[in-house]
Symmetry: C4
Subunit: 243 residues, 4 copies
């Protein structure tokens, strides 16, 4: 199995995990930058993540044009992915999803903050992007590069940005890392919401967030443990790398 084949298998696994863990339903998607060409990314055709297999993966230029004349129906919102890869050279994987439990923080002025250790990877601040500010009344979807770039401007150097009334975008250095954030950011949101009903909430300190980031290794046994756990729950045991 080549590196590219391994990455494609992992992208399929990632699609299934996001579905099994309720980060996505029929909507929402995950991409990875092409390992041999940083000006391209890999993303499934327009299909529910739960149903994605390797043959469904398409290749795109950063502006969202399918490579090689591929005429299959792409996701309408693929521009989110390209805009992030364009602006953030270090970004290797991107998720856009509508996970229910983060949505309240996008439609109020209560800031989403890391309050549990597994939420630290969202960083100290999670900005909120409102498509209306620059594009007026739209259907809220990111359907061109101008919108994608505007979202990316709000995302800036952050790991996660909320999209008002819509969902979130997350960017990371690996598929494992972006999947992990996509699962734990909603958990952090649930815990924070409950805690806010109990009184003043103690978030993680900046130093704690930095200490966790400094120690994070995408290929550590601890990180791998979660990936395998989620993959098996999602029915992807056969797709996992042999140990």
């Amino acid at each position: 199995m080549t590196d590219l084949e391994r990455l494609l298998a992992d992208l399929v696994i990632a699609n299934r995990i996001l579905s099994r863990e309720n980060v996505v339903d029929a909507y929402g998607h995950i991409s990875v930058r092409h390992p041999h060409n940083p000006a391209r990314y890999l993303l499934a055709r327009s299909l529910s993540p739960e149903r994605v297999v390797q043959a469904d993966i398409m290749e795109f230029d950063l502006d969202g044009t399918p490579v090689g004349g591929d005429t299959r129906q792409p996701y309408l919102e693929r521009f989110i992915h390209g805009a992030v890869y364009e602006a953030r050279p270090e970004a290797v994987a991107v998720v856009h999803a509508h996970a229910e439990d983060v949505l309240p923080f996008g439609i109020t002025s209560a800031p989403l903050r890391p309050v549990i250790h597994s939420g630290s990877f969202m960083g100290e601040q999670v900005p909120v992007w409102d498509i209306r500010e620059r594009f007026g009344d739209t259907n809220l979807l990111v359907t061109n590069m101008a919108q994608g770039r505007d979202l990316t401007k709000t995302l800036s150097t952050h790991s996660v940005a909320l999209m008002r009334g819509h969902g979130f975008v997350a960017a990371a250095r690996s598929l494992i890392e972006v999947v992990r954030m996509s699962v734990y950011v909603p958990r952090n949101a649930r815990v924070q919401m409950a805690a806010m009903q109990l009184g003043a909430v103690k978030p993680l300190s900046r130093g704690e967030i930095e200490a966790r980031n400094a120690g994070y290794k995408p290929h550590s046994p601890e990180t791998r443990r979660a990936w395998e756990y989620w993959a098996i729950r999602a029915g992807c045991r056969e797709l996992l790398e042999k140990e």
Copy 2:
């Protein structure tokens, strides 16, 4: 397969989806207008939606009389469906259900509002019908045409109306659309409830609701994607139209 057969298969799928997605339990029902006779509608006999198969579908006149001397037990509340089809010529599909998460908005004065993009199809306002206003103390069920017509008056031109202490009615131009609303209106309600605990909530603007409605196509790949996702989750892969 004729058009009518396809529609019956889709109605079975819709019944199963509503059950799988917790919109209905043993109670609640979905109908579709007869494609060849707008003065009739198709609705299962009195049966839990999860158990409905094609042979369970009955045909009714708009006043709720079974067609062709069909003596099977109908749903007590079928009058909801007929009253909507009578008042709204453009309506093609109707759901009545007791989805738990919309119920709080029917028993308080807090208005249910579209706050997430997938909730936009409920429209800017969701009226609340209280059977008690005109019919006094009842068992809350809509068991005759007078009650159905009174509900329909409150529904007016809206897509969804809440029924105080009971549930909701939704009307749409297709089965896919009414199923989609029935799944996403409770999600919108959950997000709104959580957000209201965090502070002032930003709903979708009128312009955004209109932009989403203007762009909606019941047969677009995006709409179809959700239908297939829900159908497969509900165990109905075999009933889906071949691609």
Copy 3:
């Protein structure tokens, strides 16, 4: 199949439904009065309801003594059942459970009220029994007839009583009815809790509660529909009465 055999099969089904619908876990139990001897009741031996089969059903005198020298381990709290049958000649079935969502109403002074039509069968008032008032510091369990009778005094003519820090007891005229209450009282509690966060809550009126009670028939097609739905979900299709 004799009437008694049918009733035993239904009691097994009821056990499994309560487990499947999260009314009970390893704890909680359901009984039925003996159809041929009103001074006895039928209740499983000490076993998780999910695992109960017909051979596990024991017969008890109203004071909790096993009939016929049956030496199997009975539930510690069987006295709840006998005390209700003793005080309420019309009662045919009793549930005691710890359903999580009713517990908040037993430890605060907020009264649980019927706010949705399916919650009407709890009646206008749901009293709260506190074992501590008469028995001081105990392990909170009802382990003798004196405690059972004290609970029954609080239950009085109501359908449901909450037990502070512990759970609830429900009494009804049939197994179907008591199962239905046990499933819908927690749902009513969830809806009421959410609604109380939104503002003032409109409960069902006394007249509506009475209208629903007046029209209730334990063998109507509507009631039967829910029983079959829950039984099939609980894996008990084979145990259902042939239609």
Copy 4:
């Protein structure tokens, strides 16, 4: 089957129960003191609890050193277990987990209190440990004996301690007891959170907590009933002791 083999089988069951009941996901672990050598404990290698089988169990000295030159990857936070066994001679089993519903109580000043009878085993007080007080900005994980001992100082003679922004530790006299606490402490937290929205909350009295502790027997039929129920739900029927 020797006593040690029985205990190892029970430790596997306990791992699976904690996963099935959502106390742990890929993270979190459960140990038991070695029955023949109180200066050692048994704990799985670094693996998701859901996947643990008997061959994955390692043996550790109290300071966290693997016994017999076992070179497999251990859990980073195993020091929690050793520190508890060191400080608490009566402790036989320890759980560390991140159960979502207890987390809000670790990041606010609202004290977690036993409010339902099944929560009584957490005792009257649940202290909160903040790693930052003594160790400053860390990644929040307990990765050495000094941190484990500091946590144990906060745990003191309590059954459960919360860890700010991270999770909890629970200690008990048997595997059954620590599993039971790990399942019911989050339930107690959910009930308490909901009740706090309704008004002032009545916790269990000190006398009730003591009465429940006094009457608790780890091998009673009632305790055994829950263990079997959870084990069967977790797919471990074959691993259960033959009755």
